[in-house]
Symmetry: C2
Subunit: 225 residues, 2 copies
C-alpha cells in the first residue's frame, strides 16, 4: 500500500543541520495497525507528515499503491489525501473561529459529499461529543478538541487513518473508547498508523516501529491487545 525508500528530511538552521529523518525505509500493507514510537524529537511527526503526503522528503521515494507520488502536483496530493487518508494532527489543527460540527464537516465539503451535517454529527457522537457540536475550539477542553480532530479524520470513512498522538490529552477511559473506534475501523479492513508514546495504546497494534534520531532502530510484529 505505502512504501518509503531511504527517505530523508533535513532542515538547515543557520550553519547547523537538523536531520529529522535520516534514511527511513519501510513498507506498510493494507489492513495493518502500526504504532510508531520513540523519544520526543526523534522524527515521529515528520515521518507521519511524509506518510500522509503532507510534506515532501528532502531525499528518497514515497510510493502509494505502487505510484511514486513525488511526481504529483500539490493539488493531486490533496485529492489523494481527501479521498483515502484521515489525518489526526498532534496539535489538532482545528479552525479556530468555526464550531466543532463545521470543523468535522470540512473534509466532506472538499469531497462534495451529501448529508454533510448528519454525517458530521454522527462522527461527533462516535467520539462522545454530540453535546458540544456548537462549541468553537476555544470553548472546548484540550481533550475535547482532540476528539473533534479524531471525528474530522473519520467522517469521510477513509481507507487509511493516520493519527499523531491521538490520546495525549485524554484520560484512560476516553483513550480506550478512541482506540476501540480505530480497532473497529481496522476490522472493516482500514489501515491504521498511529504515533504514540503510551505502551497501553501501542498494545492495540500488530506492529511497532521504534524511531531514534530520525532512524528506524526496530520494526517488530506482535500480537495486538
Amino acid at each position: 500500500l505505502i512504501k518509503l525508500v531511504n527517505v530523508h528530511k533535513t532542515y538547515r538552521m543557520g550553519d547547523s543541520i537538523v536531520r529529522a529523518l535520516d534514511g527511513v525505509t519501510m513498507d506498510i500493507e493494507r489492513g495493518e495497525i502500526i504504532a510508531i514510537m520513540g523519544p520526543s524529537g526523534s522524527g515521529k511527526s515528520t515521518l507521519m507528515n511524509v506518510l500522509g503526503a503532507l510534506d515532501r522528503p528532502t531525499k528518497g521515494q514515497y510510493y502509494m499503491d505502487g505510484e511514486d507520488v513525488s511526481g504529483l502536483t500539490d493539488n493531486e496530493l490533496a485529492r489523494i489525501r481527501n479521498e483515502h487518508i484521515g489525518f489526526v494532527f498532534q496539535s489538532f489543527n482545528l479552525l479556530k473561529r468555526t464550531s466543532a460540527i463545521e470543523n468535522v464537516e470540512l473534509p466532506l465539503v472538499y469531497a462534495g459529499a451529501r448529508n454533510r451535517r448528519e454525517r458530521a454529527l454522527e462522527a461527533l457522537e462516535q467520539v462522545k461529543l454530540g453535546d458540544r457540536s456548537t462549541h468553537k475550539p476555544n470553548e472546548l477542553s484540550g481533550g475535547e478538541q482532540q476528539r473533534v480532530a479524531v471525528a474530522r479524520a473519520i467522517v469521510t470513512d477513509p481507507d487509511i487513518i493516520m493519527a499523531d498522538e491521538p490520546t495525549g490529552n485524554l484520560d484512560s477511559k476516553v483513550s480506550n473508547e478512541i482506540m476501540e473506534l480505530f480497532w473497529e475501523f481496522n476490522q472493516d479492513g482500514k489501515t491504521i498508523i498511529l504515533v504514540t508514546h503510551e505502551d497501553t495504546i501501542a498494545a492495540f497494534a500488530g506492529r511497532i516501529v521504534q524511531l531514534l534520531d530520525g532512524k528506524i532502530i526496530s520494526d517488530t510484529r506482535q500480537t495486538p491487545k
Copy 2:
C-alpha cells in the same frame, strides 16, 4: 497559601448552560505537591486558570495569602502572577514568531530582571533543549514545544508552579526528567500544582484531587513516589 470557597465557572451557550466548575472549595498549603485528575471535560483546566488568577470565577471567592483577589485589577493580578506563579498551559501558548529562547525570556522582561539571556538558556538546558534555543515553535516537535513552555514557567524561579498536563506529549524518559525537576523545586519549598491524567505522574504528588463534572469528588493524601 491559596483558598477557594464555593467557586463556580459557568458558560452560557445559546439556551444551554455549561457548568465547568460547579461549587469547588479547597485549601492549598505552601510546599504541597498536588495532582488534579479527572475525565476529559471535567473542569481541570478551568480550575487551574482560576487558581492561576488567569480567569475570574462566576461565583465564589479566591484568596491568595489571605487576600481576596476578586477586588484586584487585571494589572495587579498580572503582577502577582509574574512575581509568584509559573504557569505551563495545556496548549503551551508560545509566541509563534519568536524563538524558543526569546519565549523563555519573556517573563524576565516583564519582571525587569537582569541576565535574561543567560537565565533563559539555563532554563532551556534544565529541560534538555539547549540545542534548540534558536528554533521557533513551528520548528520544534510537540514535546519540545511543551518543554519550552516548562522552561518559561520556571525561569523566574516562582514560589508556585502550576502545570496543566506538562507531560502529555512526552515519552516516559523525558516525562520523568520534568517531574524530577518539579520534585527538586518542591524540595526548595516551592508549591507544585499539576493537572495530569497519568497515574505515573500523579504518583509524585502528596495529594490527589479528583474532579467530575465540575465538582471535587475526592481529595486524598498519599505518600509520594
